[in-house]
Amino acid sequence: MTDMLELTAVQAQEAMASGDFSPAEYGKAWAEAAAEDELNAYLWRDGNGDAEAISVEEPSLAPVAVKDIFCTEGVPTTAGSRILEGYRPAYTSTAVRRLIEAGAPVLGKTNMDEFAMGSSNENSAYGPVLNPWDRGRVPGGSSGGSAAVVAGGLAPWAIGTDTGGSIRQPASLCGIVGLKPTYGAISRYGMIAFASSLDQCGPLTRDVRDAALMLSVLQGADPCDSTSVGLGEAPSLPDREDLRGLRFAVPSELARDAIEPGVREVFEATLARIEQLGGEIAEAPLPHAEHGISAYYVIAPAEASSNLARYDGVRYGMRSEGSGDLIEMYETTRAEGFGSEVKRRIMLGTYALSSGYYDAYYGQAQKVRTKIASDFSAAFAEFDFVVTPTSPSVAFGLGEKTSDPLAMYLNDFFTVPMSLAGIPAISIPAGLAEPAGGGPRLPVGFQIAAPAFAEQKLLAAAHALEGAIGFDARPEGVRG
């Protein structure tokens, strides 16, 4: 018998259904694997039922690692922040509830950038997550823990959240699949809010079929989130093997100079593969995408500054022990509870919304958002997909970009436009490349974006391409 842990979640589901091994055996094997975490990827692991509310009577699906941004009843939920240390929510998020109801136990809660703000996982109050491919490098962020556990053989699959690239970029840097669904496909209820018009839950998995299975469990309208509409029909497992008749657009403004040479090579090789599979490649203008970062770093901090006003030391989380009046208590609690990136974004957002600056920043950014969305609509009138590298570089070194916030923000250059437009996008591993500074080769992600609610078509194309690429590299010592 092959090692259970080498199976994808889809394969494991089939094996359990046909009695090859029991869900209990399989769950135990994963719990033991997760306990070997040397990456600081888990913040909490299931300790044999100390969380009754999220226990699964009869498991039938692979256990799932959950980003610590999803409220889970009775289980510590920190969002990577000191201000929520010890917080145990009174309710469970819809995404996690759907997983539990579908028979997927919660394996653990994964580390993340504080309140999902970051691209390296170095902004966690609980220490950075290490990249399983090279422990001197970052796993990406903000869903860095979720990406690292899947890539590092510590979980079969995971869920994360993506506001400007927080699923796709860490998936790219860790060599796994990451899908950001259409905004509204999955309920945000119980998902701690960062930027509400952008936040979306999605899967981080070993392959595209696992992503499809996870999406079919998670998607759907939810009365507790009025912006959730679902996909209409749950996606089925993709089995397409060619790309004949499909048209792929490469943005004509794609900033090739900003992309690491190794990443560029893998990207070009992947375009050639698309053509080998019968797909057609051409350039399409997306003239406003280059302003995505500017618009995003106004809109997201603006929404965050409002969302994070709730952490005031009154209803939950920590309160500063210092004396003083109410206002002073707010100020010192927030000063002690928030890390530096969160403070920076609250300041940026409050500034952009403040009297005298609102139109110039927030108003203008919302108009840029309109233009970016209409650029995509124009491209999709002629093309089925838009493709880019997921990240301009492979995984970078711990501490390499922490002193320059803007350099860190530019990691999201290729992922932010899709978030602003609300459209689905997937990152699949496309190969390995040497980092710009030299060293062992590291994973490179390839991003495919589709029109809103075209997940089924997106997964089919990604599955075909994944099969042709045949990416089977694993970090040293990781099975599968």
Binding site: G184, H291, S294, G317, G324, A365, K367, V368, T370
Partner: protein, 96 residues
């Protein structure tokens, strides 16, 4: 360029205490980020409608009927200083 006074003003609006060192650093970092962001100010977008949300939705309403909710004790359980079924906070008036 963001001045020190602006940093202090915004921090006050956000109810965010900042150390002297943070005030200095924030002024430089915010200036750098805003310099990049300022590029969108040069785009001609006068006639473009703003997008606040990508999903086109009408208001979602539900019937106004009583339903189960969290128990008060459960809702208070995570508070730093619950007392007599309420959240206790320091006085809004400075003492002294």
């Amino acid at each position: 360029m963001i001045e020190r006074e602006q940093v202090l003003h915004v921090a006050k609006l956000a109810r965010l205490g900042l150390s002297e060192e943070e005030v200095e650093r924030m002024a430089g970092e915010l200036s750098g980020i805003l310099e990049h962001v300022d590029r969108i100010g040069e785009l001609e977008l006068d006639d473009v409608p703003p997008t606040s949300h990508v999903v086109e939705l009408e208001n979602v309403l539900r019937a106004d009927e009583p339903h189960e909710s969290l128990d008060r004790d459960v809702a208070l359980a995570q508070a730093p200083d619950p007392v007599d079924g309420a959240f206790r906070v320091p006085s809004p008036q400075a003492e002294g």
